[in-house]
Subunit: 371 residues, 2 copies
């Protein structure tokens, strides 16, 4: 047999909007041998993952699991289950990912009411209230917690409160939020929440933790039409993740990925979720202070700024593409470009998961001082 | 920071219907550091993966890529793109996975004509012909190449020929077929084919290689209604995998998984696909000869038996659950149970990917001699 060329990549400090670097121990866990998806040792791993996910989402909902695909598939799982053709939904849109939620709703034939805010601004609570006053028959509302495209934090707690008043379910994008800032599923009454496995979770990309409330699960159970997806139908999927039950075959689990997220979730549990939130705040403050000292300005007002995703306006003398290329090539650091109207005008600098430490920030500061 | 417990599993010889063990080099590749999905080094990896996939599928179609989810999601990607509400489809069903294809078609509102065969028998070509005679307006036909539930090989080449005569597109499940037995996408004229990343491909589970013909791609482009999935819409996804083009963001690629499949595909390329097919034949013959010598009998007639998935009737004196438990616990070997009416009556023994060698078979034979 001829010798094949090994796959090798270089170690890049990933300070973009994602992917971010993984916690130590994750890649090692992922190099453990495969187990069958129905092996009793593997089912124990799934059980432990589930318990940690409940801890992470701050929920006791049994409908909490990993969708075996990236965050974008988690988004789809929420929409495909909860929307029936003709259902009225209010979609909050103040960035790229709010727009993608809208696109999901559109594909399933929802009747859509849009609540928009300018990029860089949060969704106004009074706009959400007005939408429900005009459309009290809206069954759903969707909103992004941490808008990755702009660095804006939306006020999920207040929006969820209004949704409850009108008897609507709320779908929340927590892709850039989970593990980095509070996402209080039970306390705030969130009905369908999806995230990713990297960023604040500190694992590699490719999985989507999701959680559904009893109300959401009931709605899916009482649909008039079948969920237009067998793979993502949560009434089927739920049994695959049912603790201690006879677990029916659903799909061949990507075992190494589950090992990886288990390692990351054990790490999070050992640190404590509140401590993680505090660390994100502290390191972000350290970053902000040092960047402002150097004349950089934030795109987003402090009151609704995300600690984990900083959108920084490019100062005079730094050219977007050239600057990012130099960071990547000369300093092995990645930052993200601006999107839409902000392309060329700002950088998106993520400080998440394994990169929430002063050493990572110092490495970045040294690099921009030498750009 | 408190010390977390490392994730450890045991090395099991996976001779079930899947997952199977991965080629040497795969897990090592997967422990390389993450790269961003838009990093130029990563795009080169995607380009190389795509070229190897075309080699593997025996196609020159540019619509060839990996869906970032397991084979079941690849199945869904084929159906969700190609079916519009009310389209007539012929679903071939002679096992669990043919039934799952039918379930996918049902969820998208297709008008379904079923062609069935008993479990253990192949789809009869004359039944397919009759279905098209009665339903010449059928736009699609779906069939499993290697039926994992029974060990039966369907005659894809002949079924594809009939489909072409009637101007219908053909969706083929190649999950247990690809890499193990011939799947001639261009020569046979297959329009949508999906597989998995483990089994004959020798990587870990979690990805789904897919390929679409120009005809299929055109059909999706000319739909009257949007594909009821943003994530899986191949007209969007296609650009993410377009060789050498400006690659738009679609989702955060699971980079480690792509490294893993690249390592496996490089291995396949270095061995040669025809050599792989021959190896599967040879090792399966060695297995069959030795099993028959011991009084075991096959469930499936030799003429349509799969070399890579052997359904063996349990001989007197071997009890199903107890026997599998002993294999797993005492010998670290996994085999698969029978499904449906065959539960308790047979074992499904997979000889795929990294396990296609005499050493694996000898280990298994020694174990059953000592059961």
């Amino acid at each position: 047999m001829s010798q094949i060329q090994a796959v090798k990549t270089s170690e890049v400090l990933l300070l973009g909007p994602g992917p971010s670097n993984s916690f130590s121990g994750v890649l090692q866990a992922m190099s453990e041998p495969a187990l069958s998806h129905l092996d009793s040792d593997f089912l124990k791993i799934m059980d432990e993952v589930k318990e940690h996910l409940q801890y992470l989402f701050r929920t006791s909902s049994p409908h909490t699991y990993i969708v075996s695909g990236p965050g974008s598939l988690g988004m789809e799982t929420c929409f495909v289950n909860l929307i029936e053709h003709g259902d009225k939904i209010i979609t909050c849109q103040n960035g790229f990912f709010g727009d993608r939620m809208h696109e999901n709703a559109r594909r399933y034939g929802a009747e859509i009411v849009q609540v928009k805010a300018d990029w860089g601004k949060p969704i106004a609570i009074e706009d959400v209230e007005r939408a429900f006053v005009l459309h009290p028959d809206a069954k759903l509302i969707s909103v992004v917690s941490a808008e990755t495209s702009t660095g804006v934090k939306n006020d999920i707690e207040s929006i969820a409160k209004i949704a409850k008043q009108y008897g609507a379910l709320i779908i929340v994008d927590a892709v850039t939020a989970l593990g980095a800032i509070p996402v209080e599923v039970d306390k705030w009454g969130l009905d369908a929440v999806y995230s990713c496995s990297q960023k604040g979770i500190g694992c590699v990309a490719g999985m989507s933790p999701v959680t559904f409330s009893e109300l959401a699960f009931e709605k899916v159970n009482n649909r008039n039409t079948p969920v237009p997806s067998w793979f993502q139908d949560i009434t089927v999927y739920d049994k695959y993740w049912e603790l201690g039950a006879k677990r029916p075959y659903h799909h061949t689990a990507p075992s190494q990925q589950y090992y990886g997220i288990l390692a990351a979730l054990r790490h999070i549990k050992s640190v404590g979720i509140e401590n993680l939130w505090r660390q994100h705040e502290e390191i972000s403050s350290y970053f902000a202070e040092n960047m402002e000292k150097r004349g950089w300005r934030f795109f987003v007002d402090k009151s609704h700024r995300l600690p984990q995703l900083n959108t920084m306006l490019l100062p005079e003398g730094i050219e977007d593409a050239q600057g990012r290329a130099r960071l990547r090539n000369d300093f092995k650091i990645e930052v993200g470009a601006g999107l839409g109207a902000m392309a060329g005008k700002l950088w998106r600098i993520g400080i998440m998961g394994a990169n929430v430490n002063k050493a990572a920030i110092d490495k970045f500061l040294l690099a921009i001082d030498n750009l």
